[in-house]
């Protein structure tokens, strides 16, 4: 028994003397609670909503006000015609469009019913379901209110709900883009960081350094195989999701692949940067996985929409590359947008990639200290 206790005591000592283990035991749970607590609200707040009011009368005005003042929504635009709907969805800020038919108020009074449509952005199925439900609830409430004024209540607004993009609300549409984003950055960063630190750990890096090889040659040499293989990976995932889930790319495949290559480059350069600050493989793996996995999953908009999170987290997400790529990939795959809609994100990724590469080459030590 004493033997056992002595051994247990030793294990405690090891743990308390290794800051990494302490971080895993205490740091991660705390971080997770904070992130999960705040970021993961399945409630919707401030969802972007646009109105196409073909009637513009008192009733529509009242209903519009009611919807906006509910706190769930935030008006983005007032549309002028049907042709603007696609555009406003593509821009991404609007999650729902409400269409009031012509002569809404009159029809309601005279015929007892009037038509309105609720169009939701189906590329985020969970959000779409939620906000349409809220909208329906608000409308139901409104119905009660207006009926309350009449004795004979046969007035009814029955909205028609449709999903824009992903009409069947397939969850794969949410997952596949997110999975591609996450896998690419994790694997690429992990692989490159490990392969470089492995050489450091085994001692072969010393011999490489003393050779005529330039740092940039070493870095690129490490990156090229992973670049090619990751690209094949992307193609594979796309083919698989098409075969198995029937998920096809709505927009330009070429654009998608080009953006993927950019993102792969970025992920690889993150890995290289990690390797310049890691002394050994264990550190590299630790930083790559822990330092990148959690933020990527939770704060990139992959699973939990960014609009719902406290401002702090939204700000943090601005420095995370996956956030931009998820937007790009969803736009192209599910909304079928072209380059014009994603140029901002693309530019950001290019800037980030350049920065990482420059930093990495600078930090790459041509000597041992």
């Amino acid at each position: 028994m004493k033997r056992f206790l002595g051994f247990v005591r030793k294990e405690f000592l090891h743990i308390f003397r290794d800051y990494r283990t302490l971080f895993i035991i205490f740091g991660i749970p705390v971080a997770q609670i904070l992130i999960f607590g705040f970021a993961i609200s399945t409630d919707v707040k401030n969802a972007g909503i646009a109105f196409l009011d073909l009637s513009k009368d008192e009733t529509t005005q009242k209903l519009t006000d009611k919807i906006i003042s509910s706190g769930f929504f935030r008006r983005t635009e007032n549309l002028a015609g049907y042709n603007e709907i696609e555009d406003v969805f593509r821009k991404g800020k609007t999650k729902e469009v409400i269409i009031f038919e012509k002569d809404f108020g009159n029809k309601l009074l005279k015929e007892g019913k009037a038509s309105m449509s609720i169009l939701a952005d189906g590329s985020e199925p969970n959000t779409a379901t939620l906000i349409t439900n809220y909208t329906m609830a608000i409308i139901g409430d409104f119905n009660k209110e207006i009926q309350g004024d009449q004795i004979n209540n046969t007035l009814l607004i029955q909205p028609e709900v449709k999903m824009f993009y992903n009409p069947e609300l397939k969850s794969q549409h949410m997952f596949v883009p997110g999975v591609i984003t996450m896998i690419l950055i994790l694997i690429c960063a992990l692989m490159t960081s490990v392969t470089i630190t492995r050489e450091k750990e085994f001692g072969t890096m010393e011999v490489l350094l003393v050779s005529p090889l330039k740092p940039i040659q070493i870095i690129l040499g490490k990156v090229v195989p992973y670049f090619l293989l990751s690209f094949i990976n992307v193609v594979l995932i796309l083919v698989l999701s098409w075969l198995v889930f029937g998920l096809s790319v709505k927009g330009s495949i070429i654009l998608l692949l080009a953006e993927s290559m950019l993102y792969i480059m970025l992920s690889l350069s993150v890995g290289i940067l990690i390797s310049t600050v890691s002394g050994n493989m264990q550190q590299a793996i630790f930083i790559s996985l822990v330092g990148m996995m959690l933020p990527t999953i939770l704060l990139s908009g992959f699973i939990y929409p960014l609009e719902n999170m406290p401002v702090v987290y939204q700000v943090i997400s601005y420095i995370l590359p996956p956030r931009y790529f998820i937007t790009i990939i969803k736009s192209i795959m599910i909304k079928g947008t072209g380059f014009m809609y994603v140029w901002k994100e693309t530019l950001t990724l290019i800037a980030m990639t350049t920065m990482f590469i420059v930093l990495s080459v600078k930090k790459f030590k041509i000597r041992l200290e």
């Binding site: 033997r3 051994f7 005591r9 030793k10 090891h14």
Partner: protein, 247 residues
Amino acid sequence: MKDENNTVISVRHLFKKFGNFIANDDLSFEVYKGEIFGFLGANGAGKTTAIRILSGLSSPTSGEVIVAGINASEKPEQIKKQIGYMSQKFSLYEDLTVKENIMLYGGIYGLKKALIKERTDNLLAKLNFMEYGNKLISDLPLGLRQKLAFSIAIFHEPKIVFLDEPTGGVDPITRRQFWEMIYETASVGITVFVTTHYMDEAEYCDRISIMSEGRIVALDTPENLKKQYNTDSVEEVFIKIARPVND
């Protein structure tokens, strides 16, 4: 003091096979109480395999191996209580202090707290380590670490202590001090089974055995071997009879 009437290790026709590869090929020898027994051989000759069997870490394929009265094929676990072990690669936990390491091993071998404390004080005084008690192992120079590791290996006063290349890379003065510790250990009756690459250290042993390609090709005192092969040093004997394994 070598006591030839008291055999602490008895090996008869030991075979150890890994698949088709015969690592230990019909080994037979005896080691006596209080002896300093040197175990030499080229890399790949089968030394490490044999030591692992003798220290209870691995079982023989066939043959009789009796260590400290315990049969290694039947109860290898029991052997561990009777022996001490120190190797060059690992000995102590680097992120623990000197005292913590001593306490840990003392506890593992079942010594009572009071006894551990008493022996710790003695050990530290002997090695002139008094100020080092609370220093982390990683802060100690190599020579001190090796001496400490050895002291800890015999802390529980085992019958036999196995030393695997204990003096690699250590400066000549420390090496000699280490061997004086080995002499002292043997003089109180603890058998020392040591492997080494330093041929001059082979001369410090009472008897040595040389392994080559899984077999023992020589077993005798250093003086007898030198006479037999007509050389001035054990190194020359070694060069004559031990071939490095060509994979």
